[in-house]
Amino acid sequence: MDLTRRDALVHLATLLGATVVGPRLAAAPIGSMQAHGFSAEEIALLDEIGDTIIPDTDVPGARAVGIGEFLAMMIADCYEPAEQQRLRAGIADIAARYKQRYGGSFVGGPSADRTALLNELDREQREHHAALPPDGDPHYFRILKELTILGYFSSEIGATQALRYLEVPGRYEPDVPYTRGDRAWFN
């Protein structure tokens, strides 16, 4: 289908290009670098956070789908101002904690260090949610993780490469053998 081919080409170009940005950011004037109220530095940090949660493997990771800008858009559009503030404070805290512990920048830091820090935050959010009262605020890292997973697996790379996706399956089979390691279908 033309639509699919066109998008595949767009993404192929994205993959081959030196700078990986989502289409909306690409359309913004270079230099101003304000996307959804986030600075270029914040977007870069979000890209690195996303790519630490879903890294490059045999298929591209979250950075390749423009996760930084996706996270910025979702935070700006789908969260109340107070929640946005908590999320942005949390994002800044990730960079600050990293700097304190490893003495450098989270962006561009060794993957093992970034992963170790985010795994620690993931344990924190799980403990936070295990004891969360019904009206309690969710942990910012849980939201970042969920949004990263959403943005990645519903992207074209995520749906068609990390998973399997057919726009037009054409038939229904109610019982098909599955072998561990086979990719899931995007539904």
Partner: protein, 559 residues
């Protein structure tokens, strides 16, 4: 008068109106089909039908700005970025909630036929006889034998996929092959059948999606994106099915942007002479004349038109002489059931995205079962393997998480009951002339609630679901109850009920208004009780039956 004249006027172009237009034109009448909203052309106006998930901006989440704009639509899935324009926006089309009422409407050509759930079930005599047997409301003026040939008729044309089950409470129909249960559902179905001695049965959902090509329409492509519109025309809608059939006769005129404000009524002849239309774009008033009028504007809006008509004769409108116009509002209450996990099928998966699930027909208060409430409920649900959105806490972040989420998760199953709501006289709508919509027209005020009978039923709907899943060997079975507002089922019924006596009903056995026999109301407004099955197929059958009768009566000179 210079009013344009037709043989028949059909008000509303949804499931019922589309059928009225088709049947009346095919039987030789020149028909004007009026739709209050804009046109939606088949295929051309389905902008999101072929989009991948990555092309939907917020990927299924709803932006705050949109939520703030839609305090009603945001209550459920109807507020979304895929078919946003196919749900009437409450800022232009307000209504009053004396008690909480979710009113999700489709104001465009095709109406909710574009967005419906497509579940299609016949009523049985257990339903048609219930009011008389239990002394509730009034008796239906028809029985299953009156409507059965019309179910055949509409099923043959619409194309309903389903299995033959020989159940008294859920009659079989003229089905295309079923869209089968998947391997895990079949396992649960077998378990339920055995545990309950075949008194409870899980069957493939009966659905207006084509399991093979039918009447010139393509078979289902198993994309499960019906609610964005189907470019293959593989589910029944006005656009895919009834409108092209009516157009093919050369006798149909479709007029979008036409808000019918009232029926024109000749008090001496006791007949409607036509309708008054407010052009939604030009705001000009136009009149159209016809020998018969079919009101198919959706249950509550057909009654709105009646309430606003012949007020010089009856202050509360045409059909109000019974004292029942606007009363006996019904819906199906739901959002209560159970979920569980199915073990033993980690080496199985499905191919394709089936646009339906399973159905468990009513088993309460039938076949000797007696409960502390009247009527019953059925279940709808499905089983599937969890996807990438599942929680895998132990894996943290990074490559192990990514690789795990690339594979399907465990099989889970969920179901919700759909329960019958009794026709309570106290559940009513009325016209409120102090509040007006964007066109200065009075709005409806909703005063409806479920009562003790429904609350008792909900206990069973929750517990029976869990009991069946456990009996079938499911693990981690949990009950669910996410609450219900009246209207949430989007199965509004009643307010102009059929009956045997003009003193207690608005319509007769052929859906004619007692006080204006050339006015037929064949959408959900006509329902005398609600059953627990999805109602649209019954509207189709009642509409086709009434249309055939109207044409006969015209020929006999009776209208």
């Amino acid at each position: 008068m210079s009013a344009q004249t037709y043989d028949a006027i059909v008000v509303g172009s949804g499931i019922s109106g589309g059928w009225a237009a088709k049947e009346l034109t095919e039987r030789g009448l020149r028909v004007l089909l009026l739709e209050r909203g804009r046109n939606v052309e088949h295929i051309k106006d389905y902008p999101n039908a072929l989009k991948g998930p990555w092309e939907i901006p917020h990927r299924g989440r709803v932006p705050i700005a949109l939520r703030e704009k839609h305090p009603v639509l945001r209550r459920d899935y109807v507020l979304n970025e895929v078919n946003y324009d196919w749900w009437a926006h409450e800022d232009q089309h307000p209504y009053i909630e004396i008690k909480p009422f979710d009113w999700f409407r489709g104001y465009h050509v095709g109406g909710r036929s574009l967005t419906w759930g497509r579940q299609s079930y016949r009523w049985s005599d257990i339903d048609f006889e219930a009011n008389a047997r239990e002394g509730i409301a009034v008796d239906w003026p028809i029985r299953y034998k009156d409507i059965a040939p019309w179910y055949d008729h509409v099923e043959r044309f619409a194309g309903i996929s389903g299995s033959l089950e020989r159940l008294e409470q859920l009659p079989d129909g003229e089905f295309l092959p079923p869209m089968p249960l998947n391997v895990a559902e079949q396992h649960v179905a077998d378990g339920i059948r055995k545990a309950f001695n075949d008194q409870r049965r899980m069957i493939p959902g009966r659905v207006a999606n084509l399991s093979r090509p039918h009447n010139g329409r393509s078979g289902c492509q198993y994309r499960n994106k019906c609610s964005a519109g189907c470019p293959w025309g593989a589910y029944f809608s006005t656009q895919s099915a009834t409108l092209p059939a009516a157009m093919a006769t050369g006798r149909l005129t479709l007029r979008p942007h036409s808000i019918v404000t009232r029926l024109l009524y000749d008090r001496d002849r006791k007949r409607a002479t036509g309708v008054e239309v407010l052009d939604a774009e030009t705001r000009q008033t136009v009149e159209f004349a016809a020998r018969v009028v079919f009101l198919c504007a959706s249950a509550l809006n057909s009654t709105w038109i009646l309430m606003n008509s012949a007020t010089d004769v009856w202050p509360d409108g045409l059909g109000s002489s019974s004292g029942e116009l606007g009363h006996n509002v019904m819906d199906h209450h739901f959002r209560v059931g159970a979920t569980g996990r199915i073990e033993g099928f980690d080496d199985r998966i499905v191919f394709g995205r089936r646009p339906t699930g399973f159905y468990i027909p009513r088993f309460r208060n039938v076949h000797g079962d007696r409960r502390e409430y009247l009527r019953g409920f059925g279940y709808q649900g499905s089983a599937s393997r969890l996807g990438w959105a599942r929680e895998v806490a132990e894996l943290g972040v990074g490559e192990p998480l990514k690789e795990e989420l690339r594979e399907p998760g465990p099989w889970t199953i969920g179901m919700t009951g759909f329960g019958e709501i009794l026709p309570y006289h106290e559940n009513r709508i009325r016209l409120d002339r102090t509040v007006t919509d964007a066109w200065g027209l009075p709005v409806l005020a909703m005063d409806c609630e479920i009562r003790e009978n429904e609350q008792k039923m909900r206990q069973d709907m929750m517990n029976d679901a869990a009991e069946m899943l456990e009996a079938a060997g499911c693990r981690d079975v949990q009950t669910t109850n996410t609450g219900y507002n009246f209207g949430r089922g989007i199965h509004e019924m009643g307010t102009a009920r059929m009956g045997r006596d003009p003193k207690t009903s608005v319509l007769n056995a052929f859906n004619q208004v007692w006080d204006a026999p050339n006015v037929f109301v064949t959408d959900g407004a006509c329902m005398t009780s609600a059953s627990c099955v999805n109602p649209s197929l019954t509207y189709m059958a009642l509409t086709a039956r009434a249309a055939a009768y109207a044409v006969e009566e015209l020929r006999r000179g009776n209208l």
